[in-house]
Amino acid sequence: MHAKSTDNVPDEADEEKDLVINDPWEGFNRKIHAFNDLFFRYLMKPVAQGWNFITPAFLRQGINNFFNWAYTPGRLVSNLLQAKLTGAGRETAQFVINGTVGMLGFYNASKEIFSLEQTNEDFDQVFGKWGIPEGPYIVWPFIGPYTVRGTFGFGGDVTFQPQTILVPVYIQPRTIWVDIGLIVGFYSARAVNRFSLDPDEYDNLIKDSIDPYVFIRDIYLQNTRKNVAD
């Protein structure tokens, strides 16, 4: 074991730019963050742990795969609106493969057999690619961190989710409450199932932070900017 030279740390320490933070609503955001933290610890996590306990892992993974498959339309449109034709092709191919061989997406056949991955495109990336600025950082109750642009992106994503398009056809009369109920219901089910895959994930993440609010904000902003740049 040998220590590296400490004598001459060059000024190029500043070669990477500081992360630009646009958080004018920090006071409000911190309150919502605190609420979300309690919501997660005392409701979301116990429910996810209960689901984890009563449901075998392969089934929870299958359900997660199903949601990822069913949300293909939003990713496909997001690829097309960014002129990402390769991504759109991948999404189309995996949708067909997983919808058939993968039994409506429960088995991720496209990845396991053909090494064909789903993309992670969404409407925030579409708007970013179109040059729309991200705006201030904002934390929403229940759904967590976004930027203003990301909030509108979330709206775009929801619009193309299958429950928004398909399910109300079978539930009449269709009202705004039916739509909201469906969106919240599917979002919650997906989130609980997703967290059940690793209920300690959030705690393990937060453990590494001094200020969890700043930690999550800076991670979110870096990740979302990278996704737009890709």
Binding site: A3, N108, I143, L205, I210, F215, Y220
Partner: protein
Amino acid sequence: MFIYVKRAALGAALLFSVSVFAAGPQEIVKKAVSKVLHTLDSKKSKKEKRHIISEIYHNNFDLEKMASNTLKSDYKKLDNSQKKEFADKFGRFVLEFYLDKIDKYERNKIEFVGEEIKGSRATVMTLLEYQGKMAKVNYTMTQKGDQWLVYDFEVEGVRLSSTYRSQFAKVLKENEFEGLMGELNKLLAKYKK
């Protein structure tokens, strides 16, 4: 929110794949990954594995550069003994962070995508399988003599230095250097539990 928690948590899964020997940056990382994976797959005790990987880390990370790159302008305001103290403590934290994740290690697929060298700085680009998807993991390295050393890394756009920069700057502003050391001690204490 859960999607971002997942993405962010990726960082935890990656550090074990880094250590460096004298050679070109990508080749170095490849060899190092192989050595670390070999250690993890061996029948050695957890304590022995921890010792070996700690040694690899200390031999191949540039802790001072990692410290200066994280604190940026604040680093220049510290005196030499504070710089050393911070570099040591932050280096210990990153190591503990990394070792903690080894418990959750699974044999995930790693692909080497390429390297980019600009003067004495290099980026090695890799893909690491995490929860069924391939995550982009880039290692930033600096050349010292004939050695390439890691001083920063990035997981799906989330950089170690940028992630801790704001938090450290806030503590330094409010509670000065002693406050920052106190916070790092608290973080380290979490790993002792």
